[in-house]
């Protein structure tokens, strides 16, 4: 499904740390985290981290998605009511 165009017409809700976040259908979970302004994870020393490479290489966008930890959120398309938990 292409997400390059046609935005603004079909929002869905996902849950980020139990808080509803609205994104356009077809958006990735990484986008949901950025829109929510919530860091995907904390580093080993506790600093906030968010997506860097956008293509599944850097592993900085990892979060727990529907109970699977270390999920690369930039590679996962949001589904309605998906449960995302930051790591």
């Amino acid at each position: 499904m292409s997400v390059d165009q046609g935005f603004g017409t079909d929002p869905i809700l996902v849950l980020v740390n139990d808080v509803p976040v609205q994104v356009e259908r077809g958006s990735t979970v990484a986008v949901a985290l950025l829109v929510a302004g919530v860091p995907a994870r904390r580093s080993v020393n506790g600093s906030a981290r968010a997506p860097l490479c956008g293509m599944g290489v850097c592993m900085e966008c990892r979060a727990e998605v529907d109970s699977v930890s270390h999920s690369r959120t930039c590679q996962i398309v949001c589904q309605p009511n998906m449960r995302v938990r930051t790591q």
Binding site: S2, Q5, T28, V35, G37, P39, C53, G54, C58, C74
Partner: protein, 422 residues
Amino acid sequence: MNHRFDVLVVGAGPAGIAAAVRAAEEGCSVGIVDENLQAGGQIWRGSVDRARSGQGIGSAEDWLGRLERASLRAFYGWHIFDAPSPKMLRASRDFEAAELHFESLVIATGARERFLPFPGWTLPNVVGAGGLQALVKSGLPIGGKRVVVAGTGPLLIAVAAYMRKRGANVVALCEQASRGRIMKLGMGLTRQPKKLTDAVRYGWQVRGMRLRTNCWPIAALGEERLESVVLGGGGKRVEVKTDYLACGFHLVPNCELAMLLGCALDGSYVRVDESQQTSVPGVFSAGETTGIGGVEAALVEGQIAGLAAGGAREKAALLLKEREATRQFIRLLDRTYALNPELRRLATPETIVCRCEDVTMEAVEAHTSWRTAKLQLRVGMGSCQGRICGAACEFLFGWGMESVRPPIQPTPIGSLIGSDAD
């Protein structure tokens, strides 16, 4: 799950698509694998439904259409993690596993951005240049946001233009290469008509926006996320408020699969002959893995590889002249975007070098080789398997990368077992 193909193509960016299409059109049974959920790779991301048409060899829409019409089997969302026996690769998607058998293999695994450490580079909203483009294409609203685009490489102008088109306020566009080298590139482009029109088109789109050369990020500032960027170079310094910093330092080829299979490298690229064959018989490679050259090179090389792998070497030979032109372009890009040694001095002792394991510059530079640093500090031993910090350390310290071990991507334990037919 077991599958068998005459030609297996790994990577569904332009090179992989071209290879798969040509091999399929020759009548071969073809499989194509990509860890993304759609074909297109990076540069044609999101273009499956709508792509811009162009001239010359072909356009995204053209090739993606041919891909859709071709008789082949696609595996989207699958990543390759092992090559346990000749003529077979192991792939995984979520918790599933598959064995992909082949007569010939085309490695078109593309490239990733090079990131260099500087103070604040780990702040949320500091992303790659291609990284920001990928995120916007994946739904990130950018309209009205302030963006600084920095680093080096042909991506920067393309990204700045794209952000503008999507309504962002590109407040600065900074290229670390010198003005002289950028101008030389411009002249080099005029020898290749299609690229001239691209350059003109991008120039028009970034009209009114200055390309600062000899300029790079000194520091990213902010508390919980990015708030401003300090830009420097050439003795100048300026702080710019911004929402995003899109910063990448050109591209490095993804050679892990090629290395796992024992393909010889020339520097950081996979060594290939004129039919894109690697040093391993039956294994071909095309696209950024054999030299960073963008879409044109990828399409030429991909076609050659697909034809050669599919047993149609005479047809492949017809593309040799175009291949030579793209090889020249690759060399031109490498020269243009070579990194300024000043960039080695951006990181302070406290700057994080290995993001997965939070290893600082101070800790890393106390070591004399990648091997001891890995063993004692765990730099490069985290989730990204050294992809980000490895490329940085190669530039910072001249440390060569070692051989590659499976799994070449993080893979669920259950998928490692393989199928019952093992």
